[in-house]
Symmetry: D2
Subunit: 295 residues, 4 copies
């Protein structure tokens, strides 16, 4: 088979028995299609006692090596697994495709049923590629950058270890927006708009829209509503009042950092976009209808 992709990396949800079966099937399928397979450390235990058709051992590598050497990364798991892989691979050109574990995700939209047929199509170049942007969220304390992280879904500044509301000041392109008391503020990409931001009362943003949405979480002022701004905006959130380090910033709900009063979180679109691979018949609205029980 002539394939668009020659070297494929396989990444999976750690310690999940359902992942094992699908990844093993993928290894066999890709191997038989003459494609070189690199197995990510997340699923490297699956390489034990197994080998390629030609008797060679399965190559296990770091996610970074997948980024360097592969021309496609297949992620097996839930949306969270792909989020995590996306952040690690953000510096590489490699596109990502997501295989779910039987339950459709917004990002992992390839069903494990009839997987070889579906992979055949993708490997032959019959797929849909979408550009999705990520957010960089950097923390400044007294003028110095002390922490930073990438988010594919959202950067969230939120209260932590505290029942009471926190106070945040927001600036967009250096213009003061407001001071709000709330449980937190979600700064979300279009990708993240169907995740936590939606639970917080935010709108859905079409995935390729160049926009960022700011969603206050349980704001004290009821008219503090979600605001959608241009994707190229520079957003700054200042922790106005949080004694005793009871505010946190979180990237994609996976990494976090503890904040102090006066800390400034600067959030902006990362220049390099992520390439997300969908099956050719992918339809965002179909996913929405299925996930949100529309009709």
């Amino acid at each position: 088979m002539h394939t668009t992709f020659q070297t494929v990396g396989l990444i999976g949800k750690r310690d999940d028995t359902n992942v094992a079966e699908t990844v093993t099937a993928l290894i066999r399928y890709l191997d038989s299609s003459g494609i070189r397979v690199l197995l990510d450390e997340s699923v490297s235990p699956l390489a034990d006692g197994s080998q390629m058709a030609d008797g060679s051992p399965i190559e296990c590598v770091t996610t970074e090596t997948i980024g360097e050497q592969c021309d496609l990364a297949i992620v097996v798991g839930g949306d969270g697994t792909l989020l995590s892989a996306a952040r690690t691979l953000a510096d590489y050109q490699i596109p990502l495709a997501g295989v779910n574990l039987g339950r459709l995700g917004f990002l992992v939209d390839i069903s494990p049923d009839h997987l070889s047929n579906k992979m055949d199509e993708i490997l032959r170049g019959h797929y849909l590629e979408e550009r999705r942007f990520l957010l960089q969220g950097d923390v400044y304390r007294e003028g110095e950058r002390i922490a930073g992280g990438l988010a594919f879904n959202d950067v969230v500044v939120h209260k932590w270890n505290l029942a009471r509301m926190i106070e945040l000041e927001t600036y967009i392109n250096d213009r003061f927006v407001n001071t709000q008391r709330s449980d937190g503020l979600i700064i979300s990409t279009p990708t993240g708009s169907s995740a936590y931001a939606l639970s917080g009362g935010g709108p859905l943003l079409y995935p390729t829209l160049n926009a960022i949405v700011l969603v206050p979480v349980c704001p004290h002022t009821l008219s503090n509503r979600p605001i959608v701004v241009d994707g190229d905006s520079h957003i700054e959130v200042v922790v106005a009042d949080s004694n005793e380090e009871r505010t946190q910033v979180t990237w994609d709900g996976q990494d976090s950092f503890s904040l102090r009063s006066g800390d400034r979180i600067k959030i902006y679109k990362r220049e390099r976009e992520l390439r997300l691979i969908h099956p050719a018949n992918h339809d965002y609205f179909e996913t929405l209808r299925a996930k949100l029980h529309w009709g």
Copy 2:
């Protein structure tokens, strides 16, 4: 005074005594600044018994003539007055500036206090110009365009003369989105996002964002949430079930047309954008804070 604008049209809220005073002051001020003034038919009664400094009568014209002959239109009234003028003047190059009646609007943001100072600044070219887009909303019945209108805020398809919900099908760029039962669907520009769409639960869109938001009104399915799509999207709403002509389309809440089952409303961005003039110190977020009682 050297001025950026030589001929200015004055448009006002009809039959409003507060408007009279401000318009009369504007006539005197513009006349004394050597600017030619055309008075719109909306406020033409104010020309009676009055005249310019040189004894000539005040020229009263149609709004279209203002569009043709003036290089600035000043609208005195509320946001609704400017909405109406914007639709009529959409085919002309003329920029619009809005003077409110003492109560700040999102569109009419020049206060009547110290009006001549503020007008001086604007006439000298010291102002902020913003491009805002309008939506065209056309109604098709059995393949034929039978009605159409422009909206600066929103095109709304809604139940009318009926207590029960209506059923609408929505398509974006020919892709089926959903069938919803609701009181209606608001298709709003960023300009309209702080108006009716906000009351319906929609997000605020930054005014110059190239995006359209679709806000379902009281949807039966609770997960039918507002969706923000690219401003260049083609939106189509089909009246799925409405016997007895109990559905209506409304442009900016001002013009309306009665719909039947099977009618298709096609909504898309109008190519020519509106030029909106703000005082130089205009700050959208300041307006939001004032209008929404933030902090």
Copy 3:
């Protein structure tokens, strides 16, 4: 069979072919159980060419006669069918049971599957009886009562034939609550809280709670939130500004009356409550989970 009920009235959704089958099955079943059956005018066409086991014709009567002569009314259809029957039968002691057409309703919760088994249980007295209250909504113009109606779900004062918001003043037990601009105001019973009021953003009220909820529809002021008050409260809504008769009051979304500026709608709990019969294993939360796709 010894039965709790000797005479049963059958009411159905008009002109619905699915109803016919279930009603016909119920007639046969009740007849064979030795129960006298009265057929409501809504489904009287089903009596044509049919007869009871003893050769006598099927008795067709008005809904009022069912209220007078039956000790149980079985309603076949959707929640709307039961709503309508409930209002008509509100003056009688008769309990109501609802059989749905294959799709669970909040009120019609007896499935048509294995119907005779389920009816056996109910006829033998093995059922759950719930008391639900109705609202009386009377319209006063210049001090005089000019219209009135009953609602099992809600009394709604709403704009009609108009795109713009209306202005309403609300009083609870003669205390002024607020003046609001909105699309309307829903005054709902606990029964109605899972219907239109829910779409409008209201909370769910447990069905037997003695409370009324007021839900503003698309209020201009974002902090105009639903308010839950004691079920014995007297609520008064005044049409503050509605020239040209563009406001309406609607009872259960089924009957309506056109309002003028100054009209007062007085809403209060009807003394006599409705008796609603459920299968013995009825569980409100189970219905909620099914209808709202929880989990």
Copy 4:
């Protein structure tokens, strides 16, 4: 002056200079009215170097002693100060009155302006007394009660030290309601319905309504809406999935306790209600209008 109250306790927000002035004025006023004053430990520093008119020292006592010996407690501060005092005094018969610091609260509704006139009225028995209930929230681990607390506003089970949602199961009167993934669940009294529950999207409950509202915070399932149940309901929340003690229960946002998977929080109305004293012209809706910027 003949007064309804002979011994008055004074409680204040700790370490607040604005409180000092009002409390000192109250001491002088009460002393001159022949009323015995007990100063709570929260404001006992104010007794230093000060004395009553007869030269005796100001009596400083614990809040419990105020509960035992006084027939009125005056709380000076914000709503939070009164919440805290209410929980401590819940076991005593003593009524509470709240004096704010210039900014109206829902609970502290006596303005510090013209304070002696207002206190005169109250001391003469010209006031409005309202009964408000509190919630008891007890934590059970493996069948044993391991913690418990009182709440005047709300008992909140919420995520803590964690970005991801938690999973909670809710039961009402031993009936399963749902399993929800969310940031938390607010179980609120009518008193609390205008506080955190409102920010979370809950309805307002009239203060004396016998009802409890359950408000999910940022629920993953969008149809997980607030539910209002009878005030005498027994509510049980089970922590379904929270490894590493990342869930917490909080009483009135002031006390908290860390939870584990399997912990059950049982919440029910405390039998003894709180007596809240308002000025005679108190009007709940007036407070709502002022606090929520209605109109």
